[in-house]
């Protein structure tokens, strides 16, 4: 029987699906018996999912123009 602390130690690897079958079974057993760890597991999973859907920072048009102009200068000076 895992303690909550042991469960939390493995949680990240569990969610990344990088634990072996034996540990996986123990972890899954633990969340069926421990409502708090079930909540933590579920909300960490949601945390990861929400961040994955986060959008990139928009780049201001002038920042992009500056970047492309600097690249053009570089390319002109050092053609491949």
């Amino acid at each position: 029987m895992l303690t909550c602390k042991e469960f939390l130690q493995e949680l990240s690897d569990y969610l990344d699906e990088s634990v072996d079958a034996e540990i996986r079974a123990k972890l899954e057993q633990h969340i069926t018996e421990c409502p708090n760890c079930w909540v933590v597991c579920d909300t960490v999973k949601k945390t990861i999912r929400i961040y994955k859907g986060m959008e990139p920072h928009p780049i201001l048009p002038e920042v992009e123009s500056r970047l492309l102009a600097a690249l053009e200068r570089k390319m002109a000076a050092h053609p491949k």
Partner: protein, 205 residues
């Protein structure tokens, strides 16, 4: 006119860029500039520095394009360049702020969850897109730098554990333990916004 929606195969684009095709390189820049800028913002936490990092990253990538082996993804390769540039910025600013990615890391086993409250299935839908971005960004930015860098690379930029370890020059166990702490801390911080609001159920009636 070629169909603009068609995404050309990246290997071919990288190859053309290596042969000196400026248009091909600009195509790679456009494809990744937003992500590189986001990464730079998260690490430097300073818009001006992030803009510098963005520019330096692509200039360096162009300069060293012939060193790109093609055995990793182009994106992973430029992420490594961007991380190095961003960390250099941090080190330069080190006098005014504690910014080392190795500072402030505690070695205790404090993997605890402070607030335990269930969330709705899609709790972010309660907020506008701007609000969600704001909530997520400020939560990440409040993490200590060692956790922040690992979380950003693993869970926002979606690099593998190995790629993250390589980019940050950390061991794989260090990446894993920092990622765990970061995820638990963020979960705690986001619970404030995303927890199930049973008490508000009657507010609409």
């Amino acid at each position: 006119m070629p169909a603009t929606s068609q995404i050309p195969d990246e290997t071919a684009v990288v190859l053309q860029a290596r042969e000196g095709d400026a248009k091909a390189f600009s195509e790679l820049v456009r494809r990744y500039e937003g992500k590189i800028f986001r990464l730079a913002m998260h690490i430097t936490q300073n818009r001006e520095d992030a803009e510098d990092v963005l520019q330096e990253t692509f200039l360096k990538a162009y300069e060293h394009l012939d060193q790109f082996q093609g055995n990793s993804k182009f994106y992973t390769w430029i992420v490594r360049i961007a991380v190095n540039q961003a960390l250099m910025k941090l080190r330069k600013r080190k006098t005014d702020k504690t910014v080392s990615i190795d500072e402030g890391i505690d070695t205790g086993e404090d993997t605890v969850a402070r607030e335990i409250a269930a969330w709705d299935e899609n709790p972010e839908q309660r907020y506008s897109r701007e609000e969600v971005n704001q909530i997520l960004t400020s939560a990440v930015d409040s993490l200590a730098p060692p956790y922040r860098a690992v979380f950003v690379l693993r869970d926002i930029e979606e690099l593998s554990t190995e790629e993250t370890a390589e980019a940050l020059d950390l061991s794989i166990p260090a990446v894993k333990s920092r990622l765990l702490r970061a995820r638990l801390q963020l979960r705690d911080k986001l619970t404030r916004f995303f927890k199930h609001k049973e008490d508000d159920a009657f507010a609409y009636m």
